[in-house]
């Protein structure tokens, strides 16, 4: 597999959405191409860093309003 093809197939590879022969070609290429190996490593790192963006708690005002809404819902007649 050419490097330029690999960089377009990495997501299919990571998603497990790649036919076995293509996967083999891709893995064989990775085994001999340190540049593509590094590219894949950097893409994995990108996903990891993106995952770290999770923060932010629920704003207290929103939580209060939602709990009010919940108690109204509790009291409302339901089928």
């Amino acid at each position: 597999m050419a490097c330029q093809e690999l960089v377009e197939r990495v997501t299919d590879y990571l998603e497990g959405a790649i036919e076995a022969p293509d996967r083999r070609r891709l893995e064989e290429h990775l085994a001999v191409c340190p540049h593509c190996d590094l590219y894949l490593e950097q893409l994995r790192l990108t996903l990891e860093l993106t995952g770290e963006l999770r923060e932010a708690d629920v704003a207290p005002e929103m939580r209060e309003e939602l709990l009010d809404a919940f108690s109204r819902w509790q009291r409302s007649p339901r089928p």
């Binding site: 050419a2 950097q42 990108t46 993106t50 770290e52 963006l53 629920v58 709990l67």
Partner: protein
């Protein structure tokens, strides 16, 4: 491995059924639990769709009200989380229309899937007729200087990721946020955003590789 994944999935389904029973019984702690767990993610996804943080918060509030209204009708055919994000996305869509700034998802996706895309600048590869390495790297990626121990530098790196995501077109932004931040599966994202599997993957590919490129500019200039 697969058995383990299935076991985890199974447990999630059981936990969810139990949570649903408590919610329907009017258990406030169960509602708080769910709000705490999902609101940050709902806010992030809402922000990818509407113009301001305030509008996003409103959309999230409306979503929870919609959840309460629909709880008795929820049939459990999809996961509770998927169902709630679908409500959010529909609200956000309505809100976007009201703000005169969005078009339907389908045409947004079509627009973003249109045209050619290169994960890496074609200039960085050797020509197809190169005698030794056709289409091989001419300018290979360089190692990134990452220092996780330096909190300040790490914070700056995360800011680059955040900015990179912000710059993406709407559908790509939503797909990457749901997949890589909120941990949705590909199937769940397809369901929430009404995307074909292959299109979800293409959007994800474009989003991830562009964020990688921003990191590269920052970490290996």
């Amino acid at each position: 491995m697969l058995a383990h994944v299935e076991a985890v999935e199974h447990r999630a389904v059981v936990d969810e059924r139990r949570l649903l029973e408590r919610l329907r019984a009017g258990d406030e702690a169960a509602f708080t639990e769910l709000v705490e767990a999902l609101t940050p993610g709902l806010v992030r996804v809402a922000r990818t769709h509407v113009s301001t943080a305030a509008v996003a918060d409103e959309v999230v509030q409306e979503t929870w009200l919609g959840v309460l209204r629909g709880l008795d009708r929820f049939e459990g055919r999809s996961r509770l989380k998927t169902w709630i994000f679908r409500i959010l996305v529909n609200r956000a869509k309505t809100r976007g229309v009201a703000e005169h700034r969005t078009v339907p998802f389908a045409s947004l996706a079509a627009r973003e899937l249109d045209g050619t895309f290169a994960a890496v600048d074609p200039e960085r590869f050797l020509p197809p007729d190169h005698d030794r390495w056709p289409r091989g790297w001419a300018t290979p990626p360089r190692r990134w200087e990452l220092s996780p121990e330096d909190a300040l530098a790490h914070g700056q790196t995360l800011e680059v990721v955040r900015a990179g995501i912000r710059e993406l077109p709407a559908m790509q932004r939503m797909v990457i946020v749901m997949r890589d931040l909120e941990g949705f599966s590909a199937e769940e994202v397809c369901e929430v955003l009404e995307l074909a599997a292959v299109n979800q993957r293409v959007l994800l590919h474009r989003a991830r590789t562009q964020v990688r490129n921003r990191l590269e500019e920052h970490l290996a200039p």
